[in-house]
């Protein structure tokens, strides 16, 4: 197949998207009320100090000049220096974004492992006890705010049972994974509830469809029918939803990261927004844009594999 050219085309399309986001984020952070100097210096700042620091930061320059400086910093990959933390933005992103990526991947994995089998159970036993139980449990999971769910998990599995650390990020790869499990589970529960419901409905739809009835009439073994026809077709819209959810998770796991004291990109983002740390917000947004776009590319490829008609 022309897979390579498909990927190449998509990567090319990434360039205008990034340009658009570049301009949007540059404009929007400057539209936010306040400026880095007064955000940093706080309520007590004197006018002279605010003016002096904004000048040091180059924020007294015309907006076009500022944009050129920003565009250059993106082009070189350095992304400038953080205003509040005084370190290169690229360095900050390199330490904090991987944490969020691992967290998101773990959450996605847990969500799929929970949602797919249970959706099958629920769909094939439609209207019966198992179906009601699965859906009821997920409904409770879906109804709990993450800060609440997170605290309950921390109290039970962290402080009381001591199976997992009570928040934090730990040292070393395995320790990181150990620390990230509960937050990943927290994120996964609401995600899996969404996926499960969607998949359950899709499976029911497919089971009732003519081609499955036909395959059944032909006497194919039910397991094969489920795998080859039902799952494949039912997964299509769920994969689309999954891709989008992963995208929002990458850029928005702020509260989970806060509750579990994980120094990820979500917290870096919100701290930087509150501090009006323009270079960090800009740099992080660009990095996330690349990441999310790649995620969408991946889900599109999976969709195409599941159903070549989608990709044409």
């Amino acid at each position: 197949m022309h897979l390579a050219s498909f990927i190449a085309r998509r990567l090319l399309q990434l360039i205008p998207t990034l340009l658009f986001i570049l301009i949007m984020v540059f404009a929007l952070v400057r539209l936010l009320p306040g400026d880095p100097a007064s955000a940093m210096l706080g309520d007590r700042a004197l006018d002279a100090d605010v003016a002096r620091i904004n000048k040091e930061l180059g924020l007294d320059q015309p907006i076009v000049v500022q944009f050129v400086v920003f565009a250059k910093s993106v082009a070189t990959g350095a992304l400038g220096n953080s205003i509040t933390l005084k370190v290169p933005v690229a360095e900050l992103i390199a330490t904090r974004l991987p944490i969020t990526i691992v967290l998101t991947l773990m959450a996605a994995l847990i969500a799929v492992l929970l949602a797919v089998p249970l959706a099958f159970v629920a769909a094939t036993r439609r209207g019966r006890m198992a179906d009601s139980a699965v859906r009821g449990a997920f409904q409770v999971g879906l109804s709990m705010p993450v800060f609440y769910l997170g605290l309950i998990l921390l109290t039970v599995f962290g402080a009381q049972l001591r199976w997992f650390p009570v928040g934090g990020y730990g040292d070393g790869f395995l320790d990181h994974l150990h620390h990230l499990f509960l937050p990943a589970l927290t994120l996964a529960l609401s995600l899996s509830a969404v996926l499960m419901r969607n998949l359950r409905a899709a499976i029911i739809e497919v089971i009732d469809a003519e081609y499955v009835q036909f395959a059944r009439a032909k006497g194919l073994p039910p397991g094969l029918i489920l795998l080859r026809h039902v799952l494949r077709n039912a997964l299509i819209s769920t994969v689309a939803l999954f891709g989008l959810s992963i995208g929002t998770l990458l850029s928005g796991a702020v509260i989970t990261e806060t509750v579990f004291a994980i120094p990820g990109a979500g917290r870096l983002m919100i701290d930087s927004i509150y501090a009006r740390d323009y270079p960090v917000v800009q740099g992080l947004t660009i990095a996330l844009a690349v990441l999310v776009s790649l995620t969408f590319l991946l889900t599109d490829l999976v969709q195409a594999w599941l159903d070549p008609r989608v990709a044409r």
């Binding site: 399309q13 990434l14 205008p16 998207t17 658009f20 986001i21 984020v25 929007l28 539209l31 936010l32 009320p33 209207g127 859906r135 009821g136 409904q139 879906l142 109804s143 709990m144 705010p145 993450v146 800060f147 609440y148 605290l151 609401s190 509830a193 969404v194 419901r197 969607n198 409905a201 899709a202 029911i204 739809e205 009732d208 299509i236 819209s237 689309a240 939803l241 989008l244 995208g247 929002t248 850029s251 928005g252 702020v254 509260i255 983002m269 919100i270 927004i273 917000v281 992080l284 947004t285 996330l288 844009a289 999310v292 776009s293 969408f296 599109d300 159903d307 008609r309 989608v310 044409r312």
Partner: protein, 271 residues
């Protein structure tokens, strides 16, 4: 396939819950025993009693009355934050999925941009320009939310349009719009409806997350999510402040999801 006349049980139960919620939401004063916003310094943090069946919060406000009054706000959130994204997303998704080609490529880039753009920057920007409050939350949610419906529908439409009946429609000389909205969409819309019903529960939860950050419903408005956020410091000492609004979210969410399943079933049998 035999057309069923009876409504599915899920739809009856789900619809019943939603109807009851609507009635409570429209006439909260009929049901609430107290003014939801009045302090009672003599009844701070009281556990559930006959006088206060769901206890009182740290200001001595009656939790039951606040849960009841919150129906007004939360039903609004569930509906207003999702209806526009649902309709807009469905239409855009159907058109994009049917057209394919450059329209789809462009749409893909828009989705990238919308999903990538930090939601919190957007919310804070909107809040600081228009002031905090629920309407601005609807705007922020709407800007992002339609993408989900559009992407779900577009994917389904792409599958449907290659099926025989779509080709038959074209052969009959129907207009594209008629094929999309009369023939393809009814077959493609189920996942979007199912997602919509989940999305309504998610919208209430988002209200809670924004409440945690102080960007959702503004005080003294009673809203379940904000109530849960307010009760966070009292999880160990006064669980009732957050648990009862949480239960209200569960029950209402159940109403939405049962309705969604029921609707899906009705749509399927009609076909």
């Amino acid at each position: 396939m035999q057309a069923r006349t009876a409504l599915p049980l899920t739809l009856i139960i789900g619809g019943g819950i939603l109807l009851a919620s609507m009635i409570i939401g429209l006439f909260p004063t009929l049901f609430a025993p107290y003014d939801p916003n009045v302090f009672d310094y003599n009844a701070l943090l009281q556990a559930p009693t006959l006088a206060h069946p769901m206890g009182t919060d740290n200001f001595g406000r009656d939790v039951l009355s606040r849960v009841i009054h919150a129906y007004t706000v939360d039903m609004q959130i569930a509906i207003f934050a999702t209806v526009v994204p649902f309709i807009a997303g469905t239409i855009i998704g159907a058109l994009v999925g049917y057209a394919g080609g450059w329209a789809e490529a462009l749409f893909g880039r828009v989705v990238d941009a919308v999903i990538t753009f930090p939601f919190l920057v957007l919310v804070i920007a909107i809040v600081s320009v228009l002031g905090p409050g629920l309407v601005n939350m609807y705007i922020a949610v709407g800007i992002v939310g339609w993408v989900f419906y559009a992407r779900i529908i577009a994917t389904e439409i792409k599958v449907q349009k290659r099926l025989d009946y779509a080709a038959a429609g074209r052969a009959m000389g129907y207009t594209h719009l008629r094929i999309i909205f009369r023939h393809l969409l009814p077959n493609a819309i189920t996942p979007a409806i199912v997602y919509w019903m989940t999305d309504m529960a998610l919208a209430i939860l988002l209200g809670s997350s924004l409440g945690y950050l102080g960007l959702g419903a503004q005080p003294p408005t009673a809203e379940w999510g904000v109530q849960i956020a307010d009760g966070k410091n009292f999880m160990a000492t006064a669980w009732w402040i957050s648990v009862f609004p949480g239960l209200a979210i569960v029950v209402t969410g159940l109403g939405f999801s049962l309705t969604g399943d029921g609707l899906a079933e009705v749509l399927r049998t009609k076909r």
